[in-house]
Amino acid sequence: MPLISLSPNIDINIDKLATRLGGKKQQDFSYAVSEKITMFTEKMSRMLSPHLYYQTIKVDSVNNGEIELSGGITFFSIKLSKVMKECSEAVCFVATIGKDIDREIIRMMEQKHLSDAFVLDAIGSLLVESIVNDFWKKMKIKHQKAGRVVSLRFSPGYCDWSIEEQKKLFQFLDLNPVFVKLSHSCLMSPRKSISGIFGISYPHTTHFVEAYNPCKNCHKKDCNERRV
């Protein structure tokens, strides 16, 4: 399975950070929050240990709500099946930024610096998100060159895809638990980790795969992961 060790990249999308901190795009931060963002961004490079694991697998069939992958893995989700509808391959992945940030957040909370912990937690979430986005974009470009198209990515626990299905994803990826492990209740450790899947389709199906976005019809307007 390809394992990518990434060099720490601390580019933070300030608009996305503002949203996670309870604000909006082009938000003015208070002096204290601005200072915290600067301080944590500087400290972050010493805390990050980013890794991404992925595996490409053949899609055997996609029916209404059922996605059968090669090797007998079946995922159940109406929305995921729409995303994967015309895909012949799937890429399963898990990304993490490592444990150090978890430890630092816990330390801050123990010292009753809840505000600091909240800002660092938000920055950590954005960084792991950006790792996955970068990976997805690279895969998209790579497949585009070969005339293929990749779908939007999807993670267990979002929309109608049960978080319990994450167990199948981890079983399939057979990860070394030193890097990322999954608890019985489907909590990933390190906490700043993301697992998911996206599909790859061939030229005759590109229009649908590229265009389909389940977020467009979703009522959960306050979702942090909304892609509209």
């Binding site: 002096y31 204290a32 957040i105 809840l114 800002v119």
Partner: protein
Amino acid sequence: MSKNEILEKIYFNVIQGRFRAHDEGIDEGLKGQEAVSDLVTKALSDGIPAKEIVVDALTKAMGRVGSKFETGEYLIPDMLASADCVGGAMDILKPFLIKDGVESKGKFLIATVAGDLHDIGKNIVKIILKGEGYEVIDLGTNASADSIIDAAKENNVQFIGLSALLTTTMITMEKVVEMSVAAGIRDKIKILIGGAPTSHEFAMQIGADAYCSDAFKAVIFLRQNSVS
């Protein structure tokens, strides 16, 4: 410094989110100046009653912070910095309040349920309620239904607050409600739930008393529901 000046300064520094002298404020240029910790200690040594410090400085300031948060002037970390100040001040004031015979508004047991280790949200609620004058008993994360009910009986609490961030762990919330009935304490306590996958519908379905989408909703519920 007169009594009013000290109380005004405490009020100002809570709004600025400055507990210690080295803390930055919402506005630039305050680092190094006296902050809540020193000012509360000074107020007590000047003989200002602890209850007056709570009512005329801390509660008043937190009310102002709440308004600033509601209008979007303060983001979550700004509000938390102020809450951190109030929590820290209450730690200093607690023995004086007890000595003066000032009772807490009630005992609130809080926990993140079994299988779940997310605690930022729980800690936000904890610190806000502490600032509101409740005695908060924190069972931490990964708390089983048994341990929650045992602690509720042992401490004779009036409120239980349960947090979950995973759909897989929400079932413990239902167990707590059921076990509180079996233990004969259900009619003596109010059970509040919160966390991303929970909802008002889920709260009603499991027989909880309230779903709180954030810490301030919990405060509103508590103000309207005192248990004798």
